[in-house]
């Protein structure tokens, strides 16, 4: 198993895209913190990077990589190796290389410039977002053999979670503004890993504004240590569930 993971990682590194991704993240993060005079603005810019760029790159690259390694997978399957193992190794390899480049590219400047708790939470969130969107790429690539279709699904997923979902929530908010829907909002936000991560960081960045009435309800849900753990558990579920579904699909698939 280790050898397959090692092979996958080396293969991705040889691709140089991940190195480029690391470089871009690093240039972005360091410049963002050095250009702004207060670190809050730097954190906010990085927040957008984590919530938009990181998922986009993870989902698209992973998806393409999976399609490109179709032959490699077929070759592996001719060996006495379980399908679960191959799929799992591919996942671990991809997640590991993207997490590594995120931590090196964006994590280091966060630890240097951001307050420690905010920085740590942002790194953790970034790691989870990476893993979740790699898992979603697995899911979209297992559904169809057509490469264009698969990548299309991946991009749609990204678009949905990064943009459309918020638009829908905003719409709902205005439609039901006469009702007490604070708690419903909390539940809704759990349906989108990007939203969930954003709110978690919001609780640390805009703590003063979050102390108002509705803010207090959210704070009650998201601000305590228990809630932070719950959020991370949900994020973990967001990683595991799509991957498991793709795994089941992959096992039954006729190659």
């Amino acid at each position: 198993m280790n050898r397959i993971v090692k092979f996958v990682i080396l293969d991705i590194l040889r691709n140089k895209i991940v190195l480029f991704y690391t470089l871009i993240l690093a240039v972005l993060s360091w410049s963002v913190f050095n250009l702004e005079d207060n670190s809050t603005k730097g954190i906010l810019s990085l927040l957008n990077v984590i919530l938009l760029t990181v998922p986009l790159v993870s989902v698209i690259f992973s998806c393409i990589y999976l399609y490109n390694s179709a032959e490699f997978i077929e070759l592996m399957l001719s060996q006495p190796i379980k399908r679960t193992k191959i799929w799992f190794c591919l996942f671990i390899g991809l997640v590991f290389s993207f997490v590594l480049s995120f931590v090196i590219g964006a994590g280091l400047p966060l630890l240097v410039y951001a307050p420690f708790d905010v920085g740590l939470i942002m790194i953790l969130v970034g790691v989870f977002i990476t893993a979740i969107f790699v898992a979603l790429a697995f899911l979209s690539s297992v559904f169809t053999r057509d490469k264009a279709k698969g990548i299309g699904i991946a991009i749609m997923l990204w678009l949905f979670f990064a943009l459309l979902f918020d638009g829908m929530v905003l719409f709902l908010l205005f439609q039901f503004s006469d009702y007490p829907i604070e708690k419903l909002m909390v539940v809704l936000s759990a349906l989108n890993p990007i939203d969930l991560s954003r709110i978690l960081i919001l609780m640390h960045l805009d703590v003063s504004a979050m102390m108002g009435y509705t803010g207090a309800i959210f704070k009650h849900f998201f601000g305590t240590n228990l809630a932070i753990s719950i959020v991370f558990v949900i994020l973990l579920l967001w990683t595991i569930v799509p991957f498991l579904i793709s795994l089941i699909k992959f096992k039954r698939r006729d190659l």
Binding site: N48, V169, I199, V207, S208, G212
Partner: protein
């Protein structure tokens, strides 16, 4: 004229000549303060040595000095008002006054001053009283360097730290108040100064100010109070160099202004409040050289405010700089520094060439629909905000700073 002065000097010298020092304590002839108070005459000094004195209600009705040595304790046993001052020219210094009674009808206090002038209360410790120091119908009194602590849990179960009612020319200086309902309470108090006090962790307001004209409060710290500081129904108040910090909650404001006019708010710092300043029905106020830092909302200006000038302030790292509830804008914002300003300065005069709209679309949305706060900082919302900045459609387009500064003021 000369003869009058001579007579005055003569009277004063005779007064001090006949004035006695009465010592009270275990080691003296007079054991209890009550006896000393009944035997004293105007101008005497009663010097109390350390110990615990449980003598019920002590009434001072002569012009005397009551001085404690090594912090003697006056205990009200949770039944009595501890010290009642009903004479002019009284000095109370160096006591620990504790456990006054609790009653909502006659408001028993640690120290209560009735209808008097020139009363000085300094360097006392007031611990666990219903009201701390209470002044009614007083003039020219000095309350200085007292430490007032209580342990109230609910608003209706505890009185105010320093409560002033229908008074004039008071000086409240260097006191520390915590755990009361309102730290300092002013109602119908005029021409007074509140200076260098620290009011923290009170249940309701750090400072509560009603119908009190021509007062100034300077260099005070109001921190972590239930609802911050409230200034209501007042004219001509001067608020200089105060700090308003960590007043957190939905109805908590660093400074709440309601029906205020012709006042000055200069050089204050508002830090980490849910709302820095909340203004309602506020007219002709000058807000200058204040710093708003790390607040949820730096200012909430309701549409009922008129002719306020907001000039030369720093707005730093606030979640929202300004919010309002209507489309009517009758106030002027000029030459402030906004850290969210993204304009440029081609002619290098330190003033941005593009006017700044401090009111973001999302702050208007949140004002109408608070749960929307959950979408804050999402890409969708940033997009809406950006487009609104370029073409204002929902926010009032005259809500504008024409001369935004490029660099923060050094305040």
């Amino acid at each position: 004229m000369m003869s009058r002065i001579l007579i005055a000097i003569f009277l004063l010298s005779t007064a001090s000549f006949f004035a006695e020092k009465i010592h009270v304590g275990k080691h003296h002839k007079i054991k209890c303060i009550k006896t000393a108070l009944t035997h004293c005459k105007n101008g005497d000094s009663i010097i109390v040595e350390a110990g615990i004195y449980q003598e019920g209600n002590l009434v001072i009705d002569h012009s005397i000095s009551l001085i404690g040595e090594n912090l003697p304790v006056l205990d009200g046993q949770k039944k009595f008002e501890v010290l009642s001052i009903k004479a002019c020219n009284v000095l109370v210094k160096g006591f620990k006054i504790q456990h006054s009674g609790f009653a909502t009808l006659n408001d028993p206090c640690g120290i209560k001053v009735y209808d008097s002038q020139h009363v000085t209360i300094i360097q006392n410790v007031l611990d666990d009283n219903f009201f701390g120091i209470y002044l009614q119908y007083c003039k020219k009194c000095l309350i200085k360097d007292n430490r007032i602590v209580a342990y109230g849990e609910a608003e209706q179960q505890i009185g105010n730290g320093i409560h002033c009612w229908k008074s004039d020319s008071l000086v409240i200086e260097g006191n520390e108040v915590s755990g009361h309902r309102d730290g300092i309470y002013f109602e119908f108090v005029t021409n007074s100064v509140i200076w260098r006090n620290r009011s923290a962790k009170n249940i309701r307001y750090g400072l509560h100010f009603m119908f009190s004209n021509n007062d100034a409060y300077i260099s005070n710290v109001f921190k972590n109070n239930g609802a911050g500081v409230a200034v209501m129904f007042t004219q001509k108040v001067k608020m200089f160099n105060n700090r308003f910090e960590e007043n957190w909650g939905d109805a908590a404001y660093g400074l709440m202004l309601k029906e205020i006019s012709d006042s000055y708010i200069v050089g204050n710092t508002f830090k980490r409040n849910t709302t820095g300043i909340y203004m309602e029905g506020t007219n002709r106020i000058k807000l200058e050289k204040n710093t708003f830092e790390l607040n949820g909302w730096a200012m909430k200006i309701q549409a009922s405010c008129m002719d306020n000038e907001i000039t030369a302030n720093n707005f730093l790292s606030n979640t929202f700089d300004v919010s309002t509830n209507g489309s009517l804008v009758l106030n002027s914002f000029n030459a402030n520094y906004w850290d969210k300003y993204e304009g440029y300065d081609l002619n290098k005069d330190a003033i941005g060439d593009v006017p700044y709209h401090p009111l973001s679309l999302f702050s208007v949305i949140v004002e109408k629909n608070p749960p929307a706060m959950l979408l804050f900082r999402s890409f969708m919302v940033s997009l809406l905000d950006k487009s609104e900045k370029i073409i204002p459609s929902l926010t009032p387009d005259n809500f504008i700073d024409h001369l935004p500064l490029m660099k923060a003021l050094n305040l």
